[in-house]
Amino acid sequence: MKIKTPLSNEDAKKLKLSEMVYITGYIYTLRDAGHKKLVEMIEKGEKMPFDFEGNIMYYAGPCPNKPNEVIGSIGPTTSIRMDKYSPTLIKEGLKFMIGKGYRNDEVNETIDNCDGIYFVAIGGAAAKMSKCVKSVEIIAFEELGTEALRKLYVEDLPVVVATNCSGETIY
């Protein structure tokens, strides 16, 4: 199944558990260090660097790109390291995430409550995934290097539905 971002609630509801989905459109990368910063910004009442509505956050930090490349290898990082921060972001409107591995109960519950989706990308398939990235722009936290908040345009990025809108999960 192919989907486009921003993802509408109707499209999200169509996605089946453990189905392979190909994403086209803008997605946003962030890892733990950036999550910590976003949560601090929320606590201070500051505006988020991008609109959460319908958008997908990808837990990843790329390798440096060679001069002729759009981006270096970029696969998913382990999601549980984000679990401490995710409920705060989900309450702020973030509904769709891509990572790797299981989430804790609190995160599963908050995803379920907002009809969100947790996708997993294929851990380690990072060279292949870099080929799906057509453009990249750092939009916040540049000082974090690989952990900066990046806006990527991807074409047919392969991911698997790990938690669907009805709160069912493959783990």
Partner: protein
């Protein structure tokens, strides 16, 4: 005495860092292919196909197989008739790591302090293990270790009365608990015996073995086979999506230990468990 210039070591370590990160070992690559033939589930087959394609892209374009290009673990076997001229060996290795990670466009993933966490920006320092052996050669093994799998590793100080069953439980429970996090299909490195740190080192060294290479001792070889079978029945599967390929290999290394102890370390390696070596 045989003299080796430190500048040569810098160059070789840099090349090994790049080679290990871009070229998947053929034994793991073949492991993917065999698993793809065996798997019945469509999703598992599709994911294995993506892993094969990923390794091909990495090799053809000399780009990292995985974005986590790891912390560089370096094993040195230095002949007792070798002297290094120039920099200290440790300095040369770290210069080589910095060079390799910069020139190979590898990700710099090392922080200076475990709590204050400032990136060292050149992926140094490496974790280095030295061994002095007979002869006039210098063997360097670079094994970049990703932390998705490192984080799922475990060490237990069992009691001798826990015996083989206790050891098996530690192995199975560690793999179960790891689930999808260490990017299965995994390589399971197990160290049994020695002291606490020795068992961890044995487990790390076990990850250097090629897939398909067994323990030379028949007793331990059969334990490896039994554990591999049991692990592949856990239904964690490729990418954690279920199926019969959770691990490609279980590699056990052992060492004599104390009358009162039974240390067991399990070091999980992912499907891009990497190492490259050279003998100078």
């Amino acid at each position: 005495m045989r003299k080796i210039k430190s500048s040569i070591i810098v160059e070789e370590v840099a090349k090994l860092c790049i080679d290990a990160n871009c070229n998947l070992s053929s034994s793991i690559y073949n492991g993917y292919k065999e698993a793809k033939l065996k798997e019945r589930d469509k999703l598992s087959k599709d994911v294995l196909e993506i892993l094969i394609e990923n390794a091909d892209i990495a090799k053809n374009e000399q780009k990292p197989i995985c974005q986590d290009t790891g912390m560089a673990v370096v094993f040195i076997e230095m002949g007792n008739k070798v002297v290094i001229e120039g920099d200290l060996l440790e300095v040369a290795i770290n210069k080589g790591v910095a060079k390799g990670y910069e020139e190979g466009y590898l990700r710099k993933s090392v922080v200076k302090d475990p709590i204050r966490r400032e990136n060292t920006k050149d992926n140094t320092p490496a974790v280095i293990h030295y061994n002095i052996v007979e002869g006039d050669k210098l063997k360097i093994v670079v094994a970049p270790k990703g932390f998705g799998s490192e984080n799922m590793s475990a060490l237990k100080m069992l009691m001798p009365s826990d015996g083989m069953e206790g050891v098996k439980d530690v192995i199975i429970n560690t793999v179960k608990n790891a689930g999808a996090n260490p990017c299965p299909p995994i390589i399971v490195g197990v160290g049994i015996g020695g002291t606490m740190e020795k068992s961890a080192l044995l487990a790390k060294e076990a990850l250097l073995r090629e897939v398909g290479e067994s323990n030379k001792d028949d007793y331990w070889k059969s334990v490896e086979e039994e554990m591999l079978q049991k692990i592949n029945k856990l239904n964690i599967g490729v990418g954690g999506f279920g199926g019969m390929t959770t691990a490609l290999s279980v590699n056990i290394n052992t060492y004599p230990t104390h009358i009162a102890g039974l240390p067991v370390a399990v070091n999980i390696g992912c499907h891009v468990t990497r190492h490259s070596e050279i003998i100078l």
